[in-house]
């Protein structure tokens, strides 16, 4: 089976500064893949190259078996949807209008938008529980709500691939979890998702696969269990993180918190032992 998204030996420079140096990875169909890495490692540039916003100098990107260099803007939009980081447009489009914009690649008429397209947009609003705010101006919503709306727009676009640029950055804890659950659900339906995130716990808890970037290259890729390890995290963030297992669940903690906790734990065990003796 050919992978849904295949990036091979991608190189990109801004003027003389190399941003991507030989990036290669693959994502299978229906996989939820997390892209993880420190600030400035080239995640956003990688996104933009894959989406054809930036012209890369060397390498290939294939989506659904097609080389993106051969795809026009219209046909790209039928293959891949993009959820940008939240932003405010200058005009007060209603939330439902913003979601309807996701149907653009499939709208055929000039003025008329078909009932089917409106239904798809309305279903996407329903799916994310946004029906209550559907008639409010999008640019007056909170940052978190705007991110959810952009997510709904991508769902309405009905593409086999979805790219999300830090989809949970502006959300509260419960909405972060909700968005990851929605992504898992969408992936279950067969949509391939690439989402970049700054939270190692999120990628380790929710993703099927994790790609870790450092210094304009891929550091490691694979299942979260093999990738989000103390060794890998140490290579990105020197001496900041510790990885602990709580039963089956894996937790990334700040190292000092983990060590303090370990010490307390040891002490407790120690006291218990002396009591036992």
């Amino acid at each position: 089976m050919t992978p849904m998204l295949a990036v091979r030996d991608l190189h990109f420079n801004y003027d003389r500064t190399p941003i991507l140096r030989g990036v290669s990875f693959e994502v299978e169909e229906g996989e939820l893949c997390g892209l993880f890495g420190p600030n400035g490692c080239g995640k956003t540039t990688l996104f933009k190259c894959c989406l054809n916003f930036l012209k890369f100098h060397k390498g290939t990107v294939t989506m659904d078996g097609k080389d993106i260099k051969d795809l026009g803007v219209e046909s790209m939009a039928k293959i891949v949807a993009y959820v940008p980081q939240e932003h405010r447009p200058p005009f007060p489009y209603l939330t439902r209008e913003v979601v309807l914009m996701g149907r653009t690649p499939r709208i055929k008429g000039i003025f008329k938008i078909s009932k089917a397209d409106k239904k798809k947009a309305s279903d996407a609003l329903d799916l994310l529980g946004l029906t209550d705010i559907a008639d409010r101006p999008y640019n007056q919503l909170s940052g978190g709500q705007r991110q959810m709306v952009l997510m709904a727009r991508a769902i309405a676009q009905e593409t086999p691939l979805m790219f999300l640029d830090e989809p949970t950055s502006a959300l509260d804890f419960s909405n972060q979890i909700r968005i990851w659950r929605i992504m898992q659900m969408v992936a279950k339906r067969g949509v391939t998702i690439l989402a970049c995130s700054h939270d190692p716990n999120h990628v380790s808890w929710f993703c099927d696969k994790v790609v870790v970037m450092k210094n304009n290259c891929i550091l490691k890729e694979g299942s979260p269990h093999n990738v989000i390890t103390e060794a890998v995290l140490d290579e990105i963030y020197r001496d900041v993180c510790a990885v602990r297992n709580i039963g089956e669940a894996r937790m990334v903690l700040p190292r000092d918190v983990a060590l303090k906790n370990d010490a307390r734990h040891e002490k407790q065990i120690g006291t218990e032992r002396t009591l036992f003796d």
Partner: protein, 374 residues
């Protein structure tokens, strides 16, 4: 028994009526389902069209020379209807109504339409509600062209042609100045427009400084803008360019919505920003340039009408463009009618558009500002 039968029939009738009606609405695409109702927006568009037609109908009856309403319409009918008899009307009245008033009224509507459409398009493309159609230096370029035509009468075919030429040239220069690495960043483009505009303004000043008194007066007069010299020829020249350009821009209304979300998002949604922005800017510049070169610089219409429209209809450009066009046409027509009838001498129309427009926009901002600026 009879009553029951009657009820049944009437019931069936109303059902058929009802389904017939919804069918029609649905076929037009204005179904109310899923919360995307567009019926009331359509009704507002029709109301604005009615407003425009009524304004035209009323404006042709006003004028410095007193001609009765009936006679005015008699003259119009004599020209328009196939059975019209021109021999029945006074020649003087015929000239005043048919050769002076009507072309002037039509020209005001056309220019208002052009400026308001261009304003909506520029604001959408540049993602900035404070942009007006002159932002890329059309007006300064056109002013320079007109001033050249006035000062060096022999070199140029006409003031209008030279104004159009330099107006378009200014925008083209701004666009090429801002176009780097196959991209045209908005901030760079606006900055380039300001730079080009100030260069042309400086050159206008040079021409004003060196011009003779008569030429200077004419330049100042041109810069204020007005419809004094409106003729049928102007109407014939503007209609075949402004109407198709308007229709194309209207047809791109939904794409303009997408473009106003930003370049990357437009691309992700399947709308090529470079291609469509260039097309829209070329069309908007074409109509602005043509309007400016025909009647001079008229402020406010292009900035204000899109805002007024957004407050009535919301920001969807599929509706903003036609509504702004009709509102702009009506507004400029009202202003010009006031300009030629308020006092015995003519008032330059730009003065009226500003005096009427500025407080109105201020009022809108204070009461419903959130609707345009969010």
């Amino acid at each position: 028994m009879i009553m029951a039968k009657y009820k049944k029939i009437s019931g069936e009738l109303s059902m058929a009526e009802l389904t017939g009606k919804t069918d029609l609405w649905e076929r037009l695409g204005f179904d109310q389902e899923f919360g995307y109702s567009e019926i009331h927006k359509m009704l507002i568009l029709l109301a604005l069209l009615a407003l425009l037609i009524v304004s035209v109908g009323v404006a042709i009856t006003f004028g410095a020379y007193n001609i009765s309403v009936l006679e005015v319409y008699g003259i119009v009918m004599a020209h328009v209807s196939p059975f019209g008899d021109l021999s029945a009307v006074t020649r003087l009245h015929n000239t005043i109504v048919w050769e002076l008033r009507i072309p002037r009224v039509l020209l005001a509507v056309l220019v208002g339409t052009a400026l308001a459409t261009a304003g909506s398009v520029f604001q959408g493309c540049f993602r900035n509600p404070l942009v007006e159609p002159f932002i890329l230096g059309v007006s300064s370029g056109a002013a320079f062209g007109a001033a050249l035509g006035i000062v060096f009468v022999d070199f140029f075919l006409s003031i209008q042609f030279s104004a159009f030429l330099f107006g378009s040239l200014a925008v083209a220069m701004a666009y090429f100045l801002a176009h780097v690495r196959n991209e045209t960043p908005i901030v760079t483009l606006i900055l380039a427009g300001v730079v080009i505009g100030s260069i042309f303004e400086a050159m206008v000043s040079i021409l004003k400084y060196t011009a003779s008194d008569a030429a200077l007066r004419e330049i100042v007069f041109w810069l204020m803008g007005g419809f004094y010299y409106a003729t049928w020829n102007d109407v014939y020249l503007l209609v075949p360019i402004i109407i198709p350009s308007f229709l194309i821009m209207w047809a791109l209304g939904w794409k303009l919505n997408i473009l106003s979300m930003g370049d990357d998002e437009a691309r992700a949604l399947g709308v090529n920003p470079e291609k469509y922005k260039l097309l829209l800017i070329v069309l908007a510049t074409l109509v602005t340039s043509l309007a400016v070169s025909t009647v001079g610089i008229i402020a406010w219409v292009g900035l204000m009408m899109p805002h007024a429209t957004r407050m009535i209809l919301g920001p969807d450009h599929r509706y903003v463009i036609p509504a702004a066009a009709m509102l702009g046409g009506s507004y400029l027509l009202v202003c010009d009618t006031l300009a030629r009838t308020l006092t015995s001498a003519e008032i330059p129309v730009g003065i009226i558009t500003s005096i009427l427009g500025a407080p109105y926009l201020f009022y809108l901002l204070r009461t419903r500002g959130s609707a345009i600026l969010g």
